[in-house]
């Protein structure tokens, strides 16, 4: 990995320490040898108040490739997460996380986390990543909301 990547990751940690949105958390994971792995982080994204997502804090894993920040981190929710724009593997379909779309090296962890919080309640119906949530969201809102609320309970704060 490049020096640029390492220095930037350390800066991300510092920036998060100085300023992060209320109710969110994010920190590097521990390696087997007890040290912290700056290339793999864990975060928690609270659902927005006043939405069907509000009861949950949704766990996120963020993996930074060696080529970061030229390339975006890989951000995942748990496998099987119920959301129209989340692949069955948990990978999130968001343009700011896509190298060929809106990823820019300056995008910070805070922006990513806020972007995902926002995506939770405002899915993009034109960008389906899984069938069940996408279908329910476009054709059966009641069913969709029931499932989301159920899932929120599962990840309750």
């Amino acid at each position: 990995m490049s020096s640029l990547c390492l220095q930037r990751l350390q800066e991300e940690r510092k920036k998060w320490r100085k300023d992060h949105p209320f109710g969110f958390f994010a920190k590097p994971t521990k390696k087997a040898d007890g040290t912290m792995n700056l290339q793999k982080w864990q975060a928690g994204i609270p659902g927005k108040e006043g939405t069907i997502w509000h009861e949950g804090v949704y766990p996120l894993t963020i993996e930074y490739p060696d080529e970061y920040p030229s390339k975006p981190p890989k951000v995942k929710l748990p496998a099987g997460f119920y959301h129209p724009n989340v692949y069955p593997s948990g990978t999130i379909c968001l343009s700011i996380l896509n190298e060929e779309q809106d990823w820019r090296p300056a995008i910070t962890l805070k922006q990513i986390c806020l972007g995902i919080q926002d995506l939770l309640d405002t899915p993009n119906p034109n960008s389906p990543a899984q069938e069940p949530a996408w279908r329910a969201f476009s054709k059966n809102k009641a069913e969709y909301e029931r499932k989301v609320a159920l899932q929120a309970k599962q990840y309750a704060k």
């Binding site: 320490r17 040898d33 896509n98 060929e100 779309q101 809106d102 090296p105 899984q130």
Partner: protein, 630 residues
């Protein structure tokens, strides 16, 4: 005329004497390395130490002229030295090993050389040697070639641009949605066939689904689990067909990937709003005979021949699986695997209205091959050897008063600069003030007695450093740069009581030490990068530790957003040997735009922005990763 008198004529008797006592390090004995070794010997360098990790391969012989058929499988470094003994006046010392191995090649070993020549083939080693040259302030001559292109760059630490002052290209990646759902170029289909289909069918671990009961699916909803399982299992079904060895099932494979999967994609209307809809194969197209046919690999076959060949190759590979432990790796030189990938890619191309390619063309692309050209190596090595005389101040008629007067050289194509000449040789630039290697940190060596690694604690190190450099112990972050391990910071002190040995800090470790304190103006101490070296001692104490005598300057601590953007949009002036994938065949148009798109124009309110080109992201197939072509 003898060699002696030639070199004397060029540099003078006085300077020849100096050259005869000059000790140089040559890293790499491959394409450029063989050439450089010859050049350096002809110039009569006093000592040439040559390092290479590799053994000689048949494919090296056409250009690495020091090697012969009988040398195959022998180490490159020692074989090269043997080959040149006959015409050699220099002291030659070969080493077989990885230049990044700190036990074999500690920092002080690098320190014994007057000049370093890089003739490497990979980015990691280039970066490493660049860093060592920065630690020691030893001039480095960096070089690389790729086909007809190449570059040579003298690096004078502290004075001129270092290797990492300009951004380096990394292998191209494709978003998985393009690969799985919406290919638009031959390369997309080749990546799909090679990295996705082939690896799933012939290399995946089938036993993986056995523990599905205990697997965490992220949900307890039974229907959900069933759905996820179904999606992940479909490919395993195909793999089971392969493993069954039952060739009557081959049409099933064709039907699944070239009819059913395509029909599924067609159901997602949104995908095809702005795209031509794919056309799945017809049922009657999947009825095939399995006889192997001989076809010309350099022409594009008909779709019928592609399907026929796909089937017969699948049949062949199915049989091979039995004898090869159910595991076959893609290898461009393994004709069966190549033809499988080529035909699968072509059938998919046909379905998506993309032009098909010949097997030969696909081999170039899938094998990620850039031919190595002996002449390019010779030119670049020659320039590198020549400029070393100026770096060492041995060329009286071309003296330099400061290092930035030295020239680098690169081919026009490598730089995108000039198209009416082959080589450009601008003078060197000053270091890039945003360079993470030569500008953003202060460097030094920390020497620790060998006997106290087992007793000295991380906390002791923190205290020793803080005392010496006036750091705030509470705000100190310590990182082991090898392995990206954070050892201690404001919120993490559980390792502070561990000894260096316990946390695997040894001679050769490089620590990044940052005091995160900021004053009201956002100023703080520049981070310190410390190379840990050992002093051979039996009864040393913490008092014997030696730290670099440097004053750490105050700098602006947090990089602004604009700076972050800029630091990675620096124009690429240098190419990489063997690492760049040259996809210009198909990719140029599409990617040139996205690459060059000025990053600064993107707004800062990215948080709420979602996919613009929605259709690009659609996929109902299980996906895992961005596929990397390499």
């Amino acid at each position: 005329m003898s060699r002696d008198s030639n070199i004397t004529k060029i540099i003078g008797a006085e300077n020849l004497k100096k050259l005869r006592s000059t000790k140089c390090l040559l890293i790499g004995a491959g394409g450029i390395g063989s050439e450089l070794l010859k050049d350096l010997i002809m110039m009569e360098f006093g000592e040439i130490h040559i390092v290479d990790l590799d053994t000689i391969d048949l494919s090296n012989l056409n250009r690495q002229f020091l090697f012969r058929q009988r040398d195959i499988k022998q180490p490159k470094s020692s074989t090269a030295v043997k080959a040149v003994q006959g015409f050699n006046n220099s002291k030659l010392v070969p080493y077989e090993g990885n230049i990044m191995d700190t036990t074999q090649f500690p920092l002080h070993w690098f320190g014994s050389f007057d000049i370093i020549f890089n003739a490497l083939d990979n980015l990691a080693a280039r970066r490493y040697v660049n860093k060592m040259s920065q630690f020691l302030s030893i001039p480095l001559l960096e070089s690389g070639t790729s086909g007809f292109d190449g570059y040579m760059q003298p690096i004078i630490p502290g004075e001129t641009e270092c290797f990492d002052c300009t951004k380096k290209e990394t292998p191209k990646t494709f978003p998985v949605c393009t690969i799985r759902s919406t290919p638009s170029q031959p390369i997309h289909c080749i990546v799909w066939a090679k990295n996705f289909l082939f690896s799933q069918l012939f290399t995946a671990d089938v036993s993986a689904d056995d523990d599905s009961e205990s697997k965490d699916w992220g949900t307890t909803d039974k229907d959900e689990i069933k759905r996820i399982k179904q999606e992940t299992n479909e490919l395993q079904e195909l793999q089971k067909i392969i493993l069954s060895g039952d060739n009557t099932l081959i049409p099933k494979i064709l039907e699944k990937i070239f009819i059913h999967d395509i029909e599924k994609l067609l159901k997602i209307e949104n995908l095809w709003k702005n795209r031509i809809r794919p056309t799945p194969l017809k049922d009657n197209q999947t009825v095939v005979d399995l006889n192997d046919k001989n076809l010309d690999l350099s022409i594009v076959w008909s779709i019928h021949d592609q399907i026929q060949k796909f089937s017969s190759i699948t049949n062949k590979l199915m049989k091979r699986m039995k004898n090869e432990d159910n595991h076959i790796e893609f290898d461009k030189d393994d004709e069966d695997t190549l033809e499988f990938v080529a035909t699968a890619a072509n059938i998919r191309s046909q379905i998506f209205n993309i032009p098909m390619k010949s097997v030969f063309d696909i081999k170039q692309i899938a094998g990620n091959i850039i031919p190595a050209i002996a002449t390019t190596n010779a030119i670049i090595a020659g320039l590198s050897a020549l400029v070393s005389l100026r770096v060492l101040h041995l060329l009286n008629y071309a003296q330099i008063s400061k290092p930035v007067e030295l020239n680098m050289a690169f081919t026009a194509k490598a730089s995108n600069m000039s198209h009416n000449r082959y080589l450009t040789n601008r003078t060197l630039a000053k270091p890039n003030c945003k360079c993470p290697v030569c500008q953003k940190v202060v460097r030094g060596v920390m020497q620790i007695p060998t006997n106290i690694f087992s007793t000295l604690k991380l906390n002791d190190i923190i205290n020793i450093l803080s005392e010496k450099y006036n750091f705030d112990t509470e705000e100190l972050a310590i990182l082991d740069t090898t392995g990206q391990r954070l050892l201690s910071d404001f919120d993490f002190d559980s390792l502070d009581d561990k000894t260096l040995e316990e946390i695997h800090i040894k001679a050769g470790s490089v620590l990044l030490v940052t005091d995160e304190t900021e004053d009201d103006n956002g100023m703080g101490l520049k981070p310190l990068e410390l190379y840990i070296d050992d002093i051979e001692m039996n009864n040393g104490t913490a008092d014997d530790i030696k730290l670099p005598e440097i004053k750490i300057p105050l700098v602006k601590m947090t990089t602004s957003e604009e700076e972050n953007n800029e630091s990675s949009s620096v124009e690429t002036a240098v190419i990489q040997t063997n690492e760049v994938i040259s996809l210009d065949i198909d990719e140029e148009d599409n990617n040139a735009d996205s690459k060059k798109r000025k990053l600064s124009d993107a707004a800062s309110n990215v948080e709420t922005k979602k996919s613009k080109t929605e259709a690009d992201n659609v996929s109902i197939i299980e996906e895992d990763d961005i596929i990397e072509l390499n």
